[in-house]
Symmetry: C2
Subunit: 141 residues, 2 copies
Amino acid sequence: MKFSTRSRYGTRAMLDLALHDNSSPVRLKDLARRQGVSVKYLEQIIPALKNAGFIRSIRGINGGYTLAKGAGEIRLLDIVEALEGSLSPVDCVDMPKWCPRSGECATHEVWRDVRKAIDDVLGGTTLADLAERQRALSEPR
Amino acid sequence: MKFSTRSRYGTRAMLDLALHDNSSPVRLKDLARRQGVSVKYLEQIIPALKNAGFIRSIRGINGGYTLAKGAGEIRLLDIVEALEGSLSPVDCVDMPKWCPRSGECATHEVWRDVRKAIDDVLGGTTLADLAERQRALSEPR
DNA sequence: AATAATTCCTAGTAATTATATAGGATTATT
DNA sequence: AATAATCCTATATAATTACTAGGAATTATT
């Protein structure tokens, strides 16, 4: 019941892009250095974010990545699901038929509740919210 | 981000024991048949529940398992953690030092919120609640 | 005392997933 | 033409998952 490093690194990458939004494209090299992840591994994670339509890439020299939408339109739920797959703690939540008991199983209902609770947290937080939290954390006091 | 079969089967096993509480000890054979799991696999899951103090075993012929406490005193959170380990979606939630960034990382806060949401659902549901839900589901209407 | 039915314990194993690394192809600026 | 970036595909390794197997220990019944 852990998120994979893909989700952790990928979410941090999205946050990094959000914080550098209104500047020139962010090079993978810089992103990797700031986040403490290898370029090669990030390179493998990024396509999922691109396919999901969250980021745009610019190739060639002076290339890099930028957000493809406003940070306020991207929910953390979407990011993590793009990287991790469904966040249902058991398969019967997404596919009731997957388990023949699901219709008459009380645990099924609880797993559904768990899923909803995760949805509410991650679905209620946008990348803009996350960036704001980050700025608050980094702010000198 | 899935529960293991240990958690799914183990929780169902606990529910089964709760539903057969005030009768003679439940044999693993019967439990396994009703839940559609092999005896051998359940045999491997059960010790975690016993070590956690949730069930009691009676050895020898006519042996089996019973709950060791009232169903109302056992939270699903405790059961799943006994079977699954910590439900924190990332290690930095339990061990902030595990990631050097945790003190200044906004994602850390969100992962903490996710953990809390799961805690609230699973910590707010006892085995007695689950059994009641199950009875309601099985009830003829 | 023997038998049978149960839990208990330890080890093994095949498949999958996680976490990367490697090498080179493609693209665009200068 | 050179350079610096993204893109694509393959490979490696370690850990985890989901079991299975075999037999030892225990206890009620006969």
